[in-house]
Symmetry: C2
């Protein structure tokens, strides 16, 4: 994969530290990224300008040497693990092994992330290793720029996402309406039932997922409301799916808004305005533009059309009340930000573009695609129609 880690080397030089130390499982994305090793229990990664070195248990040693991207892999037993645990107990014994591992590589001072484990740090300090928290989130910044391989991974997750959205749309389309309520197979069609269809489809495409949003009516007016209960005709149904590929661990993300039956004039107007905001944002995406500029393009359009935004009114509870987008990769929310805080966009940044309007009296509306910033603009990684009404 070979990402450019030179900003981390620079940060270490500035912090006057010999190396960068992680003690975490691969559930922490920085750990997975730097080590290239997927393991459920915490292990140690040391980055130095000379290379990346892992320290793992005997149980994981074989797999780590085969699967990780590290330049070297050591196991706990090489540093007297059993003797140290016998003398100092499992926790302190393990930390003394880490100290010996660092000493063996001539590392006397390390920088560490803000959420590095306190127990490890205190015991390393006790052993004479300097441990300081690195102020900047350097690895996260590096992760924001994706390699071609990473972009392929995101693209593949988005393919699965499209299949899931198709399954959900088909289910809504196949539903019948009685007294304003949707029915399928003789039962009320609920948010939960549509989510199940989405999740099963994703599973069959090799993706896992923690949550899915299928929110209708007033529920959909809360951008993070997951939705529940029977779905109704002629109201907006917001479907937001953000799956993770189980093999690569990269995410996709997409939102569509549907109305089963007929959208009233107000819904239609807001949908068209949101589509225009979506296009305005995409028009603004290019290398050198900032995330803030893309977000401002959306705010400009919405404000011109008479809606509140958090830019025009920081306490707004209706209108456009969230950011335009976020980076995505190993984490579902990561750098860069497409928001008032958003910095410069660079080729390889993968971001969502997801303007939306919310009002409990009208419902929620959001349209979201996933794009990668290229040398001369962007490429849309999403291939799914944008339409509102389902018959």
């Amino acid at each position: 994969m070979n990402p450019d880690l030179s900003p981390l080397a620079d940060a270490l030089r500035e912090a006057d530290a010999d190396g960068y130390l992680l003690d975490a499982s691969s559930e922490e994305s920085d750990q997975l990224y730097l080590s290239g090793f997927d393991a459920p229990d915490p292990f140690v990664t040391l980055y130095t300008p000379d290379g990346t070195h892992l320290l793992v248990s005997g149980l994981e040693y074989g797999r780590a040497t085969e699967e990780s991207s590290a330049d070297s892999v050591a196991r706990l037993s090489e540093y007297g693990y059993q003797e140290r645990v016998a003398e100092y107990g499992r926790t302190e014994g393990t930390h003394r092994v880490v100290a010996a591992f660092l000493d063996d590589r001539g590392v006397a001072s390390v920088a560490a992330p803000e959420r590095f484990p306190l127990g490890t740090a205190d015991d390393l300090r006790e052993q004479g290793v300097a441990v300081e928290v690195l102020d900047e989130d350097v690895v996260t910044e590096i992760r924001a720029v994706k390699t071609d391989e990473e972009i392929d991974h995101v693209h593949a997750a988005q393919r699965a996402n499209e299949a899931a959205m198709r399954a959900a749309e088909d289910l809504l389309e196949a539903a019948t309406v009685e007294d304003g309520v949707l029915y399928h197979d003789g039962e009320e069609l609920t948010s939960e039932r549509v989510k199940e269809e989405i999740e099963v489809t994703l599973l069959r495409h090799g993706c896992a997922l923690d949550e899915t949003i299928v929110a209708y009516g007033a529920d959909a007016a809360g951008p993070h409301n997951r939705g529940s209960g029977p779905l109704r005709a002629d109201e907006t149904i917001v479907i937001d799916i953000f799956p993770r590929d189980k093999a690569t661990k990269y995410h996709g993300d997409m939102t569509r808004t549907f109305v089963k039956g007929e959208a009233n004039e107000e819904i239609r107007r807001r949908y068209d305005d949101t589509y225009d905001a979506f296009e305005a944002a995409l028009d603004a995406v290019e290398p050198g533009a900032t995330g803030k500029e893309v977000h401002d393009a959306v705010c400009d359009l919405y404000e011109d059309r008479g809606y509140d935004t958090l830019r025009s009114d920081p306490s707004a509870e209706t209108g456009f009340i969230h950011s335009t987008g976020h980076g995505i990769g190993l984490d579902v929310h990561e750098q860069p930000s497409v928001s008032p805080d958003g910095g410069e966009l660079k080729p390889g940044h993968v971001v969502t573009i997801e303007p939306g309007l919310y009002d409990p009296d009208v419902g929620g509306i959001r349209i979201e695609d996933l794009v990668v910033v290229t040398e001369d603009g962007y490429e849309n990684l999403t291939n799914y129609p944008i339409r509102l009404e389902l018959e």
Copy 2:
């Protein structure tokens, strides 16, 4: 739920600390347990002998007051969050808010878990708060003893597990055999296909899952091999399922071993011996017995019948080469241990009993149920037949 937190109060008294501090998302089970609040981003929980107090963002405040089990909930803005972030940046500003929150409750010293975030600890120390790592894993010990409500949650997850095992067994049963390979719907029946069936069934029962084991033949001889590829007749297929209920977050766990077709004499002998070891372990489970004694009962039986165990030969690579079981709850592996290290079993402990035999030349065999220790023995939370051969 009302667990007995007095051991934590005792540990604080011994450590001479005013409170116990967590700064973590609810992905850390101790945090979810103490706060009763399920949130994807880190938040602060302070336990003192007077009660449990949360510090959360404005975004989570409403939900935390409604859903958490805390005695009080504060939000960051009550302690000048915006001003402090403006002056010190987001990270240090947030930590200064935590210091103010502690000061407000008269807390000058805190104990913290080993994996407490270093950045928070260093900044709190800078602000004059004493922060020490608590040596013992007190909360984990408390969590090992389940309330009736927690036992119901595990039981419900195990119900879903039974449905998934049924779906897998039905799939194997429905398969046809050609040239020793299993076929279903005209295609080779693979480990991956059976896993998909299991995962879809669990999803339809409200459970999520990270991994499932469907391993056959030589693969199944590695206790943690997940398995892959086409399944074959007349060889052992080990299916180990450990789902998590999405609503309650509690786990189930069960293993069965099947042979599609005919088990040879060696497989049949090992299966019967493992069943006897399973029964011997269950016979040993009662309050006052230790996890070690239960594990020894399994080793005794296997060694009597001529197999290696890690007790008779710590470097054994065939025979009985893992522990007899583990606690289960919010984590899939937690206290107490049913192993050479296993301490006293108490009423409310929920443990797996899972003896097994492994040999690349014969395959793997494992039988696993989930039981809760009661006042006078145990109750088996698993209701699933134990049989080897499928026609």
